[in-house]
């Protein structure tokens, strides 16, 4: 009690002492990471944090731009054959690996041979091995800086696939990254940082790569100018968001790449913390199980769509930072057209009418959610309140994340607050949730007509034709309501007083080039 009173008086005290300098090493940029990285082997056993760190070290032939499009990175020039089955890459001149060796076409061929070998356990091996969109039939070295990739059938997605951060950006590696037996040693790549000391469970350090040859121009996604202004970057593993915030306020870290919207106000108020917001390409909303005895009636699903006020829920969950969006195509995407902005109106009266028509008699509807991801939980709580207001007997069931994921993959739910991670192409956004439920229970939208439209959009490289297909798909999506998309996430990053030039972006991952320390 005594203790609490003490704390109360302290917290209420207007006098906030400035954080003392706790072991601030000059030239070291300290960045929070909510979990340790898994490996430093590109695209093998990875997660979001692994990608976040490794994309500072790795570079592939192509990379993602700020808007999620594909652009050359190590390649200077890319030629596609008219039948869409041969891609010719020409490497930029003067590129060197972290060990000082020049980057050659042979290295590209060696790297890709390793990736395509199932023994490497490269996560994207199946994408290029025939099970996915396409199959790479050959990687041919045609000159010291020229490589030709031959694929079995044309696809609009080949380049974006190779740029995927979760594939390690299909980064080009030096042979010495593995030992004589082919066992992984550590990344010798071409990125602006070298992989430094890794204390498992504590921190990962990256060191500035002096020999890095940056592309010209300003910062642009994972391509563009990458000028490193600090000697070292240390990613500190801090699993707890509250602790991360505390660390930032105390000056124990410089960058918190992903802070909660809840803290926005407080951080802004302080003055010494810089907050940056960037819309991301993740897609959040409620999944509605169309095979559920109750929800298979489209009128009930539409009633739910009309009962929930997308704008208000977005404002509530993202604390005013997010943009409401009912389309599976995220707002930052170049395919986000005017048509995609359409959404069901919040109309409680209409919702009640639809419910009555469907003969709804107060059967409970369970919304699954979890506490690991605060926004999912918040959306569920708010959604429940809105549904209850139109007379839907909505209940919340909070599951542990692994359990909820299991239910998602098995399609075992009525309603679920869920979030899809960013996809690299608008077609993939539709692909992630559409498919036959009989064989793929995790799929949300099982509409044969939509699937046909989608497969056309997957192959075609014609932008206008694709846009038209996407717009038609969105219309059907709104009519079917297999999912109620609410908003795209916002990446809120906060930086301490020493940091200048940090900027978040649609991928939601930190970029520590172009960042200076004072």
């Amino acid at each position: 009690m005594r203790r609490a009173a003490l704390a109360l008086s302290l917290i209420a005290s207007p006098l906030l002492l400035p954080a003392a300098a706790v072991a601030q090493e000059p030239g070291v940029l300290r960045v929070a990471l909510n979990a340790d990285i898994r490996t430093n082997d590109p695209g093998v056993n990875r997660d979001g944090n692994t990608d976040a760190v490794m994309m500072h070290v790795l570079e592939g032939l192509v990379g993602l731009t700020e808007k999620g499009d594909v652009a050359p990175l190590l390649a200077e020039k890319i030629d596609v054959s008219p039948d869409g089955k041969a891609y010719t890459f020409v490497l930029r001149d003067g590129l060197v690996f972290h060990n000082g060796q020049p980057v050659t076409a042979e290295d590209v061929a060696w790297t890709w041979k390793r990736y395509l070998d199932p023994a490497t356990k490269w996560r994207c091996q199946s994408e290029f091995g025939g099970k996915g969109q396409t199959r790479i039939e050959a990687v041919e070295v045609t000159g010291p800086r020229t490589v030709v990739f031959r694929i079995d059938k044309p696809t609009a997605l080949f380049l974006s696939m190779t740029a995927r951060p979760d594939c390690g950006g299909s980064a080009i590696l030096h042979k010495d990254s593995v030992d004589a037996d082919g066992k992984w040693k550590g990344p010798i790549a071409t990125g602006p940082f070298k992989f430094g000391e890794w204390k498992r469970g504590q921190y990962v350090e990256l060191e500035r790569f002096a020999g890095y040859r940056s592309l010209p121009g300003p910062r642009d996604g994972y391509v563009g100018g990458k000028k490193v202004e600090v000697e070292r970057v240390r990613f500190l593993v801090i699993p707890d968001p509250a602790a991360t915030k505390a660390a930032l306020l105390a000056g124990s870290i410089d960058v918190a790449p992903d802070v909660s919207a809840d803290d926005l106000e407080e951080l802004k108020r302080r003055g010494d913390i810089t907050v940056d917001m960037a819309p991301t390409m993740s897609v959040s909303g409620f999944l509605l199980q169309t095979t559920d005895p109750l929800l298979q009636d489209v009128r009930i699903r539409r009633a739910i769509a009309h009962a929930i006020d997308t704008a208000e829920i977005t404002a509530g969950v993202t604390k005013g930072t997010g943009t409401p969006n009912a389309s599976v195509i995220p707002v930052p995407s170049s395919y986000y057209s005017a048509k995609q902005k359409e959404r069901a109106k919040a109309d409680p009266a209409l919702a009640r009418k639809l419910l009555a028509e469907a003969g709804y008699r107060g059967q409970p509807i369970k919304i699954l959610t979890n506490k690991r991801y605060g926004p999912m939980f918040d959306a569920a709580v708010l959604g429940q309140a809105m549904l209850q207001q139109v007379g839907v007997n909505a209940e919340i069931e909070v599951l542990e994340w692994a359990t909820q994921l299991d239910r998602y993959l098995k399609g075992n739910y009525q309603m679920m607050s869920f979030s899809y991670s960013a996809r690299l192409d608008a077609a993939l956004n539709f692909e992630m949730m559409s498919g036959p439920k009989a064989t793929q229970p995790r799929k949300v939208w099982d509409n044969p007509e939509a699937l046909k439209l989608l497969s056309e959009a997957m192959v075609s490289a014609d932008r206008a034709k694709r846009q038209e297909r996407f717009d038609r798909l969105h219309g059907m999506f709104l009519a079917d309501v297999p999912m109620l998309v609410l908003y795209n996430g916002v990446d809120i990053s906060a930086t301490g007083p020493r940091v200048k030039g940090y900027k978040g972006w649609a991928a939601g991952q930190p970029r520590l080039w172009g960042v200076t320390l004072q």
Binding site: M1, A4, A7, L8, I11, A12, P241, A242, K245, L249, S260, D262, D263, E265, E266, E312, A315, G316, K371, R372, F377, D378, V381, L382, Q384, A385, I396, E397, V398, L399, E400, T403
Partner: protein
Amino acid sequence: MRVRANAVIGGTLIGLLVAVSATATFWTPYDPLRINLRARLRPPTDLFWLGTDEFGRDVVSRLMAGAATSALVALLTVAAAVILGVVIGVLAGFVRGWLDRVLMAVNDTLLAFPGILLALGLMAVIGPNKWGIILALGLAYSPSVVRVVRATVLSVREREYIEASRVIGNSEVYTMARHVLPNCVAPIVVLATSMFGWVVLAESALSFLGLGVPPPAPTWGNMLSAARPYLDQAPWLSIAPGLCIALTLLGINLLGDALRDKLDPRMGAA
């Protein structure tokens, strides 16, 4: 003197808890689940005595409802642990032999088992609700009851009145039920009292790790864990439930002390 002071302060605190819990079942100032996004994180005012939380829900109402849930969970958990512990402890202590050894081996296993995993596993089987927590914590705490009961049984069975019961010609089962069990009541009551406190604490710790009674139903533990991000911004959110837990525990501990002193007068005022 001290016994009385302990009993009075402890009794008052626990009485308050019971009264608040009872009141909360039919009345709270506001609906504890009612969301009002326009009134998020309001500091304490005369409208909301302890302010509002991140969804604009009234903290006083949630604390009251939470008291009811916390008390219920703790009570049922203690009941579960005691019932389980008494059955096994009496069996082990009275029958002895290989059954005792097997039961104690299982008991030691449970003792070495983290409550978290138990909670997770049981919630997976039973469903993520308070029954899962109750069963998990009940199972996690029963080994200590088993130990106390077994030790008491072993000591009581050496008393002469147990022998007297045999001399009279009473059967072992009757002797156990009539003479051994009733004499284990006092230590069990003392243990159960402190266990009530542990359970409140354990439930809040589980909530803190994301495994407690699932929200939105309020418990002090999950309110406290939900309040963590606002520790600085809305301190009342974490101080109020933390204080409630601390005061309840204080009450329980004082009451437990008073009870212990009463049952074992050597500890109390001479």
